[in-house]
């Protein structure tokens, strides 16, 4: 519920939400000027876990930087690694075996579902419902087990290599992935019954925090934030990369612009990811997952850009090369950085509980904002 800002008492007080606050999912701080429960003004303060990945990128060689990408966003790590390897492969002209690209797409989509599941749970927990989180984590656990079986890690994967993959997938993974798809579809039905249909839940989100397309454009919002506002934008479709053109999937777009629309977009995205995984498993070609000769990474001077659709939106990575062993400059454009930025402007006049629900609907991962 938003009200026009009118301070009747002429008195406001400042409320520090964070850096340690249950709703901020990490170390994020929002300085809010409040009039009672209404927010008059908000200023987001970030940078509490800034690690300067970009400088690390300049100091390390190309392969050494591989593992940093997964530390950016610990929930959807593979999407970020995917962007990095695609960029370097494009710039250095490395051919990637088809099987490797398919496995990348499958694992990225699995990771996207895992990330969305965690967001789903955490979002409902922001609204005060605790059990859905446990159900979501239970489903996510299947994905983590599968990915652990092939990558060796559960969260911060370092699986992709320039030219291919660290190792091939095994039959256990393929069988588990096939089993996972129907189970996940059943779970999604359960979530829709338990949460989406719930009257309390709907009342809390319907019409809350409307974001116009103009605001999305001025702030560069992507992912479900843009798609919930009726913008049909998904890098996988708009700027096809990897083997995504081979798959038949839809981009969910909702025109309500409110928090519920953003929620619906993500829930439907999980179903679409399942479709991609299903097709990927069917189409998975045989062959090597790395080129026979280990590729040499020699990048001609110039600058290169690659955007990928991660679980949190359009992740862009810009590489300025001077032809050396290390990147001359590596810029990581993180999607939640832009998505979070519009919070300040949009939350004015909202009640604090609506603002925090709005914040949850943005799907924040703080290390990804701070880099």
């Amino acid at each position: 519920m938003t009200a026009p800002i009118q301070i009747k008492s002429g008195e406001t007080f400042t409320l520090n939400v964070g850096p340690q606050h249950p709703a901020t999912h990490g170390v994020l701080r929002v300085k809010m000027d409040m009039d009672g429960e209404y927010i008059v003004n908000a200023e987001t303060v970030i940078g509490y876990i800034h690690r300067m990945h970009e400088k690390m990128g300049e100091l390390k060689t190309y392969p050494q930087f591989l593992m940093n990408l997964s530390r950016m966003d610990y929930l959807g790590a593979l999407g970020y690694s995917h962007g990095h390897v695609l960029l370097v492969e494009k710039a250095a002209g490395i051919e990637v075996p088809e099987r490797a690209e398919y496995i990348r797409a499958i694992t990225v989509e699995l990771n996207r579902i895992a990330s969305h599941l965690f967001w789903f749970g955490a979002f409902v927990m922001d609204l005060g419902g605790f059990s859905p989180l446990m159900y979501a984590l239970q489903d996510r656990e299947y994905i983590l087990d599968m990915l652990e079986g092939i990558t060796g890690s559960r969260l911060t994967y370092c699986y992709y290599r320039f030219g291919g993959l660290y190792n091939d997938v095994d039959d256990t993974f393929l069988a588990a992935a096939r089993r996972f798809i129907p189970r996940m579809r059943k779970s999604l039905k359960k979530y829709h019954k338990l949460v989406t249909g719930n009257i309390i839940f709907r009342k809390r989100l319907e019409g809350i925090a409307p974001l116009t397309q103009e605001i999305c454009r001025k702030y560069g919002a992507t992912s479900a934030v843009a798609r919930g506002s009726g913008i049909n934008f998904d890098v996988r479709k708009n700027e096809p990369y990897s083997v995504y053109p081979e798959f038949d999937f839809d981009i969910p777009v909702y025109h309500e612009c409110d928090s519920l629309a953003r929620y619906n977009v993500r829930m439907e995205e999980m179903e679409q990811s399942l479709r991609i995984i299903e097709q990927g498993l069917d189409k998975l070609p045989d062959g090597p997952v790395m080129p026979e000769k280990k590729p040499r990474i020699k990048i001609p001077p110039g600058d290169y850009y690659q955007a990928v659709e991660t679980a949190r939106g359009s992740f862009g990575i810009r590489l300025v090369s001077d032809g050396g062993k290390n990147p001359y400059r590596l810029k990581l454009r993180s999607p939640t950085y832009s998505n979070m930025h519009l919070f300040d402007e949009s939350c004015r006049g909202m009640l604090i509980m609506d603002a925090l629900a709005f914040m949850g609907s943005l799907d924040l991962v703080i290390p990804e904002i701070d880099r």
Binding site: H21, E37, L127, S131, M353
Partner: protein, 331 residues
């Protein structure tokens, strides 16, 4: 005279013991129940089924240092937790567990319980205000508006029942419902009086007792994802422990009152065991529903909660009051 006094003192001691025991083991039940809903075992290390967990938690709470932040209003800060616990215990005095197990039966029992219940809202206001914490103040303001919004429909539904029974005496209300399950107030046929809306009244009363005890989905006072811990943010040790116990004691009171007003008190549908067990069974079933609801739903918003009260519960309960009054006149 002195015998009555002695009687009351003994009753209060028993009530405290009962409340404390209930609070401790309701926490255990809540944790186990929540865990089962979420498909995990819950506390299961200390003792069989984790049954030693509550006393150990109590010891831990009591062993902690009683921290009083420097800027607080000390008197109010200390009074608030006591004020949360005391009315709940005093309410136990008048609750009839069976024909004979009642500490002291007042002929204004319903009013007395409501009077004590509104003290609970005051304790939250005191706690939040004296803490000098912005979150706590916001929480206490919410708690007060919530308490006001929900006491009205709750009282109106209670008055409906009082009108049917013709007495404010809790014993009398139960007596009025004796004689088989169809005589309970929850069902529409009652002593020749046909009122189709009594089930709705029951639901209204149940919802209000959820809100009145600050239980999810109406736990706006301590909405942990917004207000950190709400009114008890600054409390630690037994201060927090008292709030906690008070909350659970209030739940027991709320469930008992619902049982007495709508579910026929100790009246047994079929006489398998004595009435007091039937009473406790009904109360604990209601409490189980409280727990079940808490772990299923997300929290409402403050305006959603007020809308629910002023736009739905109050009109409907008023309508039922009028209807009942009319029916009483007719039959």
């Amino acid at each position: 005279m002195s015998l009555t006094l002695l009687n009351v003192i003994v009753a209060v001691v028993i009530a405290i013991a009962f409340a404390a025991l209930n609070a401790a083991y309701l926490v255990w039940a809540e944790r186990r129940g929540a865990a089962r809903i979420q498909r995990r075992p819950g506390p299961n290390i200390n003792g069989p089924f984790g049954l030693f967990q509550p006393p150990l938690d109590g010891v831990k709470l009591m062993a902690k240092q009683l921290m009083i932040p420097g800027d607080v209003d000390k008197a109010l800060f200390m009074v608030a937790p006591v004020l949360a616990m005391a009315p709940a215990i005093l309410s136990f005095v008048t609750i009839p567990f069976s024909e004979i197990i009642v500490a002291h039966n007042f002929n204004i029992g319903v009013l007395m319980i409501f009077a004590f219940a509104s003290m609970g809202g005051m304790s939250l206001l005191f706690a939040g205000w004296s803490s000098r914490n912005k979150y706590a103040v916001m929480s206490s303001v919410r708690a007060v508006s919530q308490a006001i919004a929900y006491e009205i429909p709750m009282l109106i539904t209670a008055i409906t029942v009082v009108m049917i029974a013709g007495t404010t005496d809790l014993m009398g209300i139960v007596h009025n419902q004796m004689g088989g399950i169809w005589h309970w107030n929850i069902f529409p046929f009652k002593n020749g009086l046909f009122n189709p809306l009594m089930l709705m009244s029951f639901l209204i009363f149940f919802t209000c007792s959820l809100a009145e005890t600050n239980r999810a989905p109406f736990d706006l006072g301590e909405a942990e994802s917004e207000l950190v811990a709400g009114f008890h943010t600054e409390y630690g040790s037994m201060g927090f422990g008292l709030f906690f116990m008070g909350e659970y004691a209030n739940i027991v009171i709320g469930a008992s009152l619902t049982t007495i007003l709508f579910l026929g008190g100790w009246d047994s549908p079929f006489a398998l065991f004595p009435g007091v067990w039937w009473f406790l069974l009904k109360v604990y079933l209601l409490i189980a529903t409280f727990i079940w609801i808490r772990w299923t739903f997300p929290r409402t918003t403050i305006y959603g909660l007020l809308n629910l009260s002023w736009k739905i519960l109050i009109p409907l309960s008023l309508f039922n009051l009028l209807l009942t009054a009319g029916l009483l006149k007719v039959f």
